[in-house]
């Protein structure tokens, strides 16, 4: 797994590349938590080059989204983890596990970043 992190104005963009499994999921978790520690709760995960994800990776995503959503500026504005670019195989995992309805998923990063 490889992670490319870019800090934008209001949003942090993380590109997740390769395989997220039990061995690599802790690294993703660590990066997301370091952003939370900086007070950065608006995160877009670009999954266009994600090849593989198993349950430890899914667990990181769901825990992170719960934490991000707990951070609120107003009732309408706050933190979130949003997804951009879901490859077909990963979409299949999202569909099987109900993650498709658990996350806001966008067609590209511009759209996902703009949604905040």
């Amino acid at each position: 797994m490889e992670l490319n992190h870019r800090r934008l104005n209001r949003v942090d963009l993380i590109e997740v590349i390769g395989r997220v499994d039990a061995a690599s999921a802790p690294q993703l978790k660590q990066l997301i938590e370091s952003l939370f520690a900086d007070g950065r709760y608006r995160i877009v995960l670009d999954l266009s080059r994600l090849e593989y994800i198993s349950s430890p990776g899914l667990r990181v995503l769901i825990e992170a989204r719960k934490k991000a959503r707990d951070w609120k500026i107003t009732d309408l504005e706050g933190g979130d983890i949003r997804i951009a670019n879901l490859p077909p195989r990963i979409k299949e995992v999202f569909d099987l596990t109900g993650f498709s309805s658990l996350f806001e998923i966008y067609g590209d990063t511009v759209e996902a970043v703009g949604s905040f």
Binding site: R19, D21, A22, A23, Y52, S54, S55, P56, L58, R59, I62, E63, R65, K66, R69, R89, V93, L96, T97, G98, S101, L102
Partner: protein, 249 residues
Amino acid sequence: MESITLTADLDALAKISAFITAAAERCGLDERATWQVQLAVDEAVTNVIQHAYDPDQPGDLTLSWQCHDHRFIVTVRDHGRQFDPSTVPVPDITSPLEERQVGGLGIYLITRLMDEVHFEFSPQGGNLLTMVKYLPHDQPAEANEVVVIAINDRIDALTAPRVSKLVNERISNGARQVVLDLSNVSFLSSSGLRALLLIRKELMTLGGELRLAALQPQVYEVFTITGFTQVFNIHPSVSEARAAFSQRR
């Protein structure tokens, strides 16, 4: 059946993934089914790594596979603490984020990705997880037929690679019930015998079978001298070899 035994730690994941992906492809699973098997096995192995042993004292896990009767069968065995799948709650995948439980997805995914899943435990054997994926119905044309391949040369160190290549091409096209017509083979060397043994092993791994037919006396003698008449199915003629397949079914 082929197996791999590894220490149950996170380093095992990548090796097992490569091992099972190659196996699924050899068994004839398509790209999507191969991916599903890969994910199910990864979840099973992750489960063993995280729950069967103490993290600072990981034990072994053994992964085995075989192709049998249009099914790809994978087993994962460990000798760690007993795993009882009924204690793992089935996640409610429709619940909203706030109520959504974070665990239990691994076992759930295994049951969704595979066609059959069985758990067993015994004090001697440890935990045994068996997962089965059915092969797609549109089998390659040759899979259900008896394929007769005539070898028209000596089989020695020089020609054995050609013979292996010829037969392996048919196996990759789906041939599983194979008869080698040896009526025109006047000589078989030890290299040739080794090539035939490898073909036999490959077919057995894939759930198929090799039969040899119409051996000339001096070739048959190679089998009797080496004792390999016990190992190979040898028939006087191609038609009798064919008939032996149909009797079995």
